[in-house]
Symmetry: C2
Subunit: 492 residues, 2 copies
């Protein structure tokens, strides 16, 4: 971690004082109302129910680009939160991530009103077909000119599995094995099917693409078979910037291989620092530089012109917390039905493996403290399982810098209490203060999203996808020298 | 067909002469170069290779809306044309619908620069999951405010099936059985899962959606199981406007039940008139008014200020025809490898069922004529299997009106010889001439796409989806009166 990072160095700004570590922001949103703040849609200032309107997203994209955010990170689930009381009723009544639209289709619209903002789209390796999905992402990368990221998830709701015709989800670790297979298939499509110079568009010669430079990928995995070519020509990034959020042992090993950006959720600095260390260790175990991933932590900032104004907002927002809706969310996240647990029950009450896992993030946060169900629900009612950072510009900037310094993260996925107001407040009050401190970019760097984040537009050579790409290329070069031998790697 | 049609009557304009039947235009395009005119991408005026750029599509959408087109109809395949010589080489070299992007993701961008233009998106019932697909279409219908259509296809390329892990396609008729099952699932999601007043967004009561008005669809079909609720709240059209293009006996029976707009392809008026009669008979057999479908025929218009200018363009374009590329396209469409057939062979040479089917559209077109393979390839080199209509404004308008009068179609899906030039020429020269004749709209009607086409925003009561919706509603009303009985229809 001692090597200078060109992308970070480039965005540090001379301020007369030692340049601070620059902080990066994504907005964390979802194509629904509420998202991480169940109940807050009832606040008069909240506009998140306008998620079905184009203008809501266009306005948001313009706002975030004005605030020099790295990107808009769009969460998704493909099922409903129906663990609470065994029914979707609480989720529907509370507007808990339902009704819900498809996030991917919002990106092309937002691309028309922005030039730099990145877009992280959540999609599940459990319910997509690699070939069709790969074409979707390439299309997005084409029309955004390289501003697309993919948040790789394996899904956690049984209701999602049922609605695609499965009885229930496959097991947690097996979902990650399937995800590895999915990734191998899409790396081959994105990175190895079309050579950089395959598309010639040579009007005189009558050659659109050179067939010798377009390769069938011959992927034959346990879950996925993709024998043919990628239908789409290469985009500037080829593989979208890869986001991942798993913190289980299996999820960490997956992140070590595949993640370029990691999204972490922890309620305290101590818990977050442990997660950061786990991620960087997993990256190192995969043979990559530990600092070759950007880590964003979930946080919700409530700010205003002064500390008093921010505190008043926070108090106001807290009045809109919805305990039932929070429990519907928590039940879906954990698979534990909190509708059947008394509100004053403590973690110990849930004397099952699932129950202990369910509240692990709370007990880890502060092992000395016993959380009741009500306390947990109140905690997540604003900003989910991440911290809520409240104050005027200086106080918030102090806290954000403290979180970065104490935990080793690179930035934040900022959830909203009210949308788009929470982000507008950050852009108005916090961004300028961080810029004054030399701790926030003052302009966008050029190039596609990966270039801006890491200094290179394509996957790094030590990344799983980059290694696969380079091995296939080497095999093809060898085969060209010795044409009698087939390039074996293509059929791996 | 004698009942006056309110949507058509509304757009007829007084011109001093008897009002002519209004003609409707869609543009017929695809997220690739060339599309229906293999080889024409080599023409200096052609911009279709810019399909990877956002501006190409934004410019096109603005042009079509200026020309008062009903919509942009986006074709798609999810495989490559690899029947010709058993290889994708000819398709790649000739730019024959490959490389190819995803059409659905272009729509949200084009929606940002238009207010009225409709969008017909092709998607296959063979490779999508109903629940995920239904959410995508609802999202599109939300953000376009009801301007979305779905061109239902069952796919015809084995290469597409292989790339989603299947050995080969299921058989033709079985694909339609699967499509019926798919449609039943998505109708239930779109039409019956959420009552119109289910979303309350009632801040005071704290009710986002009323759980009693959101219903699990309990679809349990031979191919698809969708037990749960639709994740998305209703859009203005609920079900997108349904396009279909099948002309086989099984395809016609499917169209009779499901199609609201039908897209036909025939090289002559006589062949087209027979297809139109077949479609309207199939619609009648399904218990619907024969004129309750809008029929668009494929055509390519080459026009200019004068006949001479148009003729010169046509001669120029013909010089860019690419026989190999045409044969790659024809081989993919028919499943017959025309790479292995001499160019001067006639239909009789192909003495197999597949061969006869392959060229049936040509022999049907003019039974007295014997087509050679070369003649067929030359025919489809501009505008695929549809007619090419060449002339100045008056000559083209005469011919278009003649096609409409002789065949009973409602309008045309206009392919391009060069893009976007062919459409720009139509907007500049042909639309004003048709408007002078009272045979083309002079402004967009209000409302969502289905409203503009048919006078109602939702599926008609005699349509398969409308019948299913109304039956479910009736069963729910009955169940509400007699709460002890379950609404049986929901689990059909």
């Amino acid at each position: 971690m001692s090597r200078p990072d060109p992308a970070q160095a480039a965005s540090a700004v001379s301020t007369g004082q030692p340049a601070a570590k620059p902080i990066r922001f994504n907005a964390f949103a979802m194509a629904c109302a509420g998202h991480q703040s169940p109940g807050l849609w009832r606040h008069p200032a909240d506009r998140s129910h306008e998620y079905v309107k184009l203008d809501y997203w266009l306005d948001l994209a313009r706002l975030l680009e004005r605030g020099l955010f790295d990107g808009l990170f769009l969460a998704d689930v493909t099922g409903v939160y129906d663990v609470h009381n065994g029914s979707p009723a609480a989720a529907l009544r509370g507007g808990v991530q339902v009704p819900l639209d498809d996030p991917m289709l919002l990106v092309p619209a937002m691309a028309t009103v922005t030039k730099h903002l990145g877009f992280g789209v959540t999609a599940s390796t459990s319910y997509e077909q690699p070939a069709l999905f790969a074409r979707r992402m390439t299309t997005l990368d084409h029309i955004t000119e390289g501003r697309v990221g993919w948040n790789i998830v394996t899904s956690y709701l049984d209701s999602a599995a049922r609605n695609v015709g499965q009885q229930k989800q496959t097991s947690h670790d097996e979902r990650y094995d399937q995800a590895d297979d999915f990734l191998a298939a899409v790396y081959k499509l994105w990175e190895t099917s079309w050579d950089d110079d395959a598309v010639r568009h040579d009007r005189a010669a009558g050659v659109y693409a050179d067939p010798d430079k377009v390769h069938a990928v011959a992927h034959d995995g346990r879950w996925f078979r993709v024998p043919g070519i990628h239908l789409s020509e290469p985009s500037v990034q080829r593989t979208p910037v890869l986001f991942q959020a798993g913190t289980s042992p299996r999820g960490l090993s997956f992140a070590g291989n595949h993640a370029e950006c990691v999204f972490l959720i922890a309620p305290t600095q101590a818990a977050l620092a442990r997660q950061v260390a786990d991620v960087r260790a997993a990256v190192a175990r995969a043979g990559r530089r530990p600092d070759s991933v950007r880590i964003y932590a979930l946080a919700t900032v409530i700010t205003g012109a002064t500390d008093a104004e921010a505190d008043a907002k926070h108090a106001d927002y807290r009045g809109y917390a919805d305990i039932d809706a929070s429990l519907a969310l928590l039940s879906g996240w954990t698979g534990v039905d909190f509708g059947r647990v008394p509100l004053d029950a403590t973690i110990e009450y849930l004397d099952t493996d699932a129950g202990r896992t369910a509240l692990a993030s709370f007990s880890k946060a502060d092992p000395s403290r016993v959380w009741t169900v009500r306390e947990a629900a109140e905690f997540i009612a604003i900003g989910g399982r991440g911290p809520v950072i409240v104050g005027g510009p200086r106080k918030v900037a102090d806290q954000l810098q403290d979180w970065v310094a104490s935990t080793g993260i690179d930035g934040f996925n900022l959830a909203y209490a009210v949308a788009p107001g929470s982000w507008a407040d950050v852009v108005e009050h916090v961004v300028p203060e961080l810029q004054r401190r030399g701790a926030y970019a003052t302009s966008y760097a050029d190039g596609p999203l990966r270039q801006r984040l890491f200094g290179h537009a394509r996957l790094a050579p030590d990344h799983a996808g980059g290694r696969l790409r380079d091995a296939v290329r080497a095999a093809r070069r060898a085969a060209a020298l010795h044409p009698e031998s087939e390039p074996e790697l293509e059929s791996q």
